[in-house]
């Protein structure tokens, strides 16, 4: 009764539960603030009015890992920072994803030395690498949309919580 009288006959939409859940996840993904270097400036630019990441369902950067499901590692990770990064990743609730933003986070970049982790995938599993030094906001947004494509194809049985 009720809603049809107000909105008219909408018919019935059917979908898979998996697709519905994945769709809702992609449209309300909360990234965690993890600005470590100059990439963070581009990440801020991607959030600000010119590029406006909230078009893709990212209104808020969370400062707490417990409230976020996407970690954007923006910048070079020093060997001393690495345990802290892993700790924050472990504190994020499932399901969670990681974007390695920029060359330094992806592979060490120009910092091939004793102080910098040679690619953040040594510490946390990475879903999307974004190349660039630093990547422009468009590149970051492209990385996020690429991640969405991945999330949309995810199956419940593959999630770490189920395993």
């Amino acid at each position: 009764m009720g809603v049809e009288q107000k909105l008219g006959d909408m018919g019935i939409v059917t979908t898979k539960l998996e697709e519905l859940v994945n769709w809702s996840r992609t449209n309300a993904m909360w990234p965690m603030l993890f600005g470590l270097a100059c990439c963070a400036i581009e990440m801020m630019a991607a959030q600000a009015s010119h590029y406006d990441m909230s078009r893709f369902g990212m209104e808020l950067m969370r400062a707490s890992p417990r409230q976020s499901d996407l970690m954007i590692v923006a910048g070079r990770v020093s060997r001393k920072m690495a345990p802290a990064l892993r700790l924050l990743y472990d504190q994020m609730p499932e399901p969670k994803w990681v974007i390695a933003m920029g060359d330094c986070a992806s592979c060490g970049g120009v910092f091939n030395n004793y102080a910098i982790v040679q690619g953040v995938d040594e510490i946390v599993p990475v879903d999307v690498f974004v190349a660039g030094c630093p990547p422009r906001p468009e590149a970051l947004i492209h990385g996020i949309v690429t991640l969405y494509e991945k999330v949309k194809g995810e199956k419940f049985k593959d999630l770490a919580v189920v395993k």
Partner: protein, 170 residues
């Protein structure tokens, strides 16, 4: 050399029989490790060098022996002069007495030198690494420390290096 500096350097020479080098008007005074605390105390108390503006080291391996120079850059704001004290230190057991009792600011500087060059400071209140994480092997700013951390990946050795990389599991 600065006129104001001349009598200070002369006093050091008489007291500790140090050798002096001059570079672009700046005096480099070479002091023995066992005399450095006395020299620092003298400069601080008698010649108003109230500021230890830098405490660093240089590694001259393999050209020179002893390979390290521990460098104390002192400034006097009252007299507007600076002077540099250098302590040559041997490579295999580098040891210098700590300057923390003369200049408290030396605390973290000496920890940095311990971390980066492996120079021990005898009597230091807190001899731990300061920049690198605990458990790091070697001292990165020594000249014989390897430059690159990891071999760059090209098409010909990509797979080989990929196998060695410690990727994270979930």
């Amino acid at each position: 050399m600065d006129k104001k500096l001349e009598n200070i350097v002369q006093a050091l020479q008489e007291k500790f029989s140090v050798s002096v080098e001059e570079f672009r008007g700046e005096a480099h005074v070479f002091v023995k490790a066992e005399q450095i605390i006395e020299a620092l105390t003298l400069l601080r108390d008698k010649y108003d060098f109230e500021l230890l503006s830098a405490l660093t080291a240089s590694d001259y391996f393999p050209q020179e022996t002893p390979r390290f120079h521990v460098i104390y850059q002192l400034s006097s704001l009252a007299r507007n002069v600076t002077v540099q004290l250098r302590v040559p230190v041997n490579g295999d057991q580098p040891k210098v007495p700590t300057a923390t009792r003369v200049y408290e600011v030396a605390n973290w500087r000496e920890r940095e030198l311990l971390d980066m060059f492996g120079i021990q400071f005898e009597g230091h209140p807190d001899p731990r690494r300061i920049l690198m994480p605990e458990g790091t092997e070697g001292h990165p700013l020594r000249k014989d420390f390897p430059l690159g951390y990891e071999e760059p990946q090209f098409t010909f050795n990509l797979d080989e290096i990929d196998l060695r990389k410690p990727y994270a599991k979930e």
